[in-house]
């Protein structure tokens, strides 16, 4: 099912992940979140932007354990823990945040 932003339609897979990484814009990220009834706050964006930077550097979306540790290093222990990240992204931090970041589902995610 494609997602439409500003009259432009973007292809997504059966789980709602963007098919073409290059399509992504901040607006599209917001639209993907709205589909899940999730309103993105600055705290969400901090994680989403981190994931995009991680992908840019390593060409992969990190597994949740890796994400948690890396967030802890970058943004501090109060954010680098499962409780904080699951509160932001109840469907699974890596899985859900990657979706809004326009990235593929993390390797090893089922």
């Amino acid at each position: 099912m494609p997602i439409e932003v500003n009259g432009v339609s973007h292809e997504t897979d059966e789980e709602g992940y963007l098919v073409n990484l290059a399509d992504w814009t901040r607006e599209l990220g917001e639209a993907l979140a709205t589909e899940d009834d999730c309103e993105l706050t600055d705290a969400h964006w901090e994680v989403i932007n981190f994931l995009r930077e991680y992908y840019e550097e390593y060409q992969i979306a990190p597994a949740v354990r890796v994400l948690t540790k890396a967030i802890g290093k970058r943004l501090g222990k109060d954010k680098g823990n499962s409780k904080y990240l699951y509160e932001l992204f109840p469907y699974g931090p890596a899985k859900q945040a990657c979706k809004y970041a326009g990235l593929p589902k993390p390797t090893g995610c089922v």
């Binding site: 060409q59 992969i60 597994a63 540790k69 290093k73 993390p106 090893g108």
Partner: protein
């Protein structure tokens, strides 16, 4: 229960799908908290060469992903010395891979170990699961 996994990489990148498939399985195994070590021998040493640029062959350059192995707690990457020498390569031709020690103020520590075939034999003997690509 965590087991000691050793992934042996023996193929050059891009010519076949083995190198990329191996990397995927390595990441999945590490994500499931297994104790994962890697070996690069034979043409597998070519997977780690610096400066890979794949635009002109229309394939994804997956070489940057090796730098993320440290984040996946993969701290032991063994390179067979004999394979490097046969190819006129030294460790300087390969990526410098590290892991960060959280308990030591995130100090970067070397993941790459240059080993002889003989040393590799004992490393392999010590594993619970070996998967070769």
């Amino acid at each position: 229960m965590a087991k000691k996994f050793l992934f042996v990489n023996r193929k050059a990148p891009y010519g076949t799908i083995y190198a990329l498939e191996s990397l995927e399985v390595v990441l999945i195994s590490a994500a499931f908290e297994q104790v994962v070590s890697l070996v690069f021998m034979d043409d597998g040493v070519y997977e780690l060469t610096r400066g890979q640029k794949t635009d002109a062959i229309g394939m994804k350059n997956f070489s940057p992903t090796y730098s993320a192995l440290g984040d996946y707690e993969i701290k032991n990457i063994y390179i067979e010395k004999e394979s490097l020498e046969a190819r006129g390569l030294t460790l300087d031709d390969l990526q410098h891979l590290v892991w960060e020690d959280e308990d030591d103020d995130w100090a970067e520590k070397d993941s790459i170990h240059l080993v002889s075939s003989k040393e590799l034999a004992s490393i392999m003997a010590d594993q619970e699961v070996i998967i070769t690509f």
